[in-house]
């Protein structure tokens, strides 16, 4: 008998992409490589390597937002823009005590968030 149930905790990840023809890295996914014009088929990703974007990164800038959108039942959230060691950049949430500093080293992980209606979404947390 086959058990199709899925048990256990699954760790969420956010994907970045590498064009296998020329090696250019992307986040988020492009439809065409800006360097060699390779097309990415979003249903197969054939010709493109998909990898988890996470780990050490450097904070480029940040803010603490007090007027959050509908559904965010919090006083404030911090957001930041970071650069990873492979040169890719991303925006996401910053979680730490006190004020972050531009240039500080952080670690990027991914969580699932469900503040808004609909399916949960993947969110970067830089901490």
């Amino acid at each position: 008998m086959v058990d199709f149930s899925v048990y256990g905790e699954q760790t969420p990840h956010i994907s970045a992409f590498r064009c296998e023809k020329c090696g250019t890295l992307y986040y988020p996914a492009p439809m065409v490589c800006r360097k060699c014009d390779s097309i990415r088929d979003p249903t197969t990703n054939k010709g493109w390597e998909e990898f988890d974007l996470e780990g050490p990164c450097t904070l480029l800038t940040w803010t603490r937002v007090w007027n959050l959108p509908e559904g965010f039942n919090r006083k404030f959230l911090m957001f930041g823009m970071v650069e990873f060691e492979n040169g890719l950049r991303a925006s996401g949430r910053v979680e730490m005590e006190g004020d972050p500093q531009i240039g500080m080293k952080l670690t990027a992980t991914t969580i699932e968030a469900d503040e808004r209606p609909g399916k949960p979404v993947k969110v970067f947390v830089f901490s």
Binding site: T63, W66, L68, F79, S91, E115, V123, F124
Partner: protein, 399 residues
């Protein structure tokens, strides 16, 4: 050679809270005003093409296909009409399409109207609806909003160039002074630097929205509309209108990456620079020829950075010009004479049309007493959609 295109009618409603009214009526009000300004409501039968600018009535008001609705509300069938949606740049994009329709020879008279009723939803929901123009996976899903991006942008600018929160407040004081004199502005109340920056209660009056941006660094949520009538100045139809056309000397747009983090330098608004360069080339002038400008200051940092990208000031120095009052109404280069998005308000679909309405008023010499720029020759408007990723620059000339 393409025909010359001019503006012969301009209408505007008082910006503010119109949430008790149908967005179609709000837009039609300014259309009416534009025809009255041009010489009479009967002139609507001379229109060859209509463009209606709106960003998100489907989300704000559960109304779509607004171009058809406006046409019918104004008794203008069977005139061709299309809706233009380009985020908060919808208005100037509609004017650009109007220009192109005339320049191509497909039309001699074009009506452009823009409007938005945003206060029909809560402020929280409005912020969320506007944020839907960000990249879905990489920005919107993170919980990022336009104030959030502007906060990050401002902090980086401060770090690199030495801008202070007080400098941001100085821009707001100037814009509110201008709006206080503008019949059509949402917030017609001047503010003092003491109240929002220097005084003991400034932290309370001017609370943080997205640090380091405060409430007075941010535009209000505003409803409203504006309308313009464009004409082929070389056509016999131009003589039907009572007012001398204000010529569209240059109009151009450019785009940048959807994701802000994918720009080579997150502090550079490349699309602003490119659209301005193209508009200058089309007009045959440079930044030194501009008499006054309406710059897209949804957040006051934008007024500063845009004034640098279009060549008015060296990079990282615009706030020094504000300290020297160079951008005041009586300064060397008045900026946001209407009060700007900051104080006049920012009904997203209307804003681009409203900015050009202000250029027309100033170039005609019709601005209110105390708000009229002295002897203007060229006026510039920069309207952008997204976080600077789709920008339209317009230059009007008084011939």
């Amino acid at each position: 050679m393409a025909p010359r295109v001019g503006i012969v009618g301009a209408g505007h409603c008082r910006f503010g809270n119109s949430s008790d009214y149908d967005v179609v009526d709000v837009i039609a009000y300014s259309v009416n005003a534009a025809f009255r300004d041009a010489g009479g409501l009967n002139l609507r039968k001379e229109v060859d093409q209509v463009f209606v600018a709106n960003m998100a009535a489907g989300l704000f008001n559960r109304e779509t296909a607004l171009a058809s609705a406006v046409i019918s509300r104004m008794d203008m069938e069977p005139c061709p009409a299309e809706l233009v949606e380009n985020g908060p740049a919808s208005g100037a994009s509609a004017v650009k399409l109007g220009y192109m329709a005339i320049a191509s020879g497909m039309a001699d008279v074009v009506l452009v109207a823009g409007g938005e009723v945003m206060r029909s939803v809560t402020g929280w929901e409005s912020t969320d609806i506007v944020a839907t123009m960000a990249h879905k996976e990489a920005e919107y899903n993170m919980g990022l909003t336009l104030p959030g991006f502007a906060g990050m942008f401002t902090r980086l600018y401060m770090e690199r160039y030495g801008l202070t929160e007080r400098d941001l407040a100085l821009v707001a004081v100037k814009d509110h002074d201008n709006a206080a004199k503008n019949t059509y502005a949402h917030v017609q109340i001047p503010v003092t630097i003491d109240a929002i920056a220097d005084g003991p209660n400034a932290d309370v009056v001017n609370n943080y929205v997205a640090e380091p941006l405060r409430m007075y660094s941010t535009c209000p949520v505003t409803d409203g509309s504006a309308a313009l009538i464009l004409v082929n100045m070389d056509s016999p139809k131009a003589k039907l209108f009572r007012k001398k056309p204000v010529r569209i000397a240059g109009i151009a747009s450019a785009t940048d990456t959807h994701c802000v983090h994918n720009r080579k330098d997150p502090l550079v608004l490349e699309a602003v620079r490119l659209s301005a360069e193209k508009a200058y080339t089309m007009a045959g002038i440079g930044p030194q020829d501009i008499s006054f400008a309406e710059l897209h200051d949804a957040f006051v940092i934008f007024e500063l950075i845009v004034s640098e990208e279009v060549g008015f000031f060296e990079r990282g120095t615009s706030f020094l010009a504000v300290r020297r009052h160079e951008t005041d109404l009586n300064g060397r280069l008045p900026i946001n004479t209407s009060g700007g998005l900051k104080a006049k308000g920012h009904p997203v679909g209307a804003t681009g049309v409203s900015q050009i309405f202000e250029l027309v008023r100033q170039l005609r010499g019709e601005a209110e007493e105390g708000r009229q720029v002295k002897d203007p020759r060229y006026g510039m408007a920069v309207n952008f959609g997204g976080f600077g990723n789709n920008v339209v620059t317009t230059i009007l000339a008084k011939d």
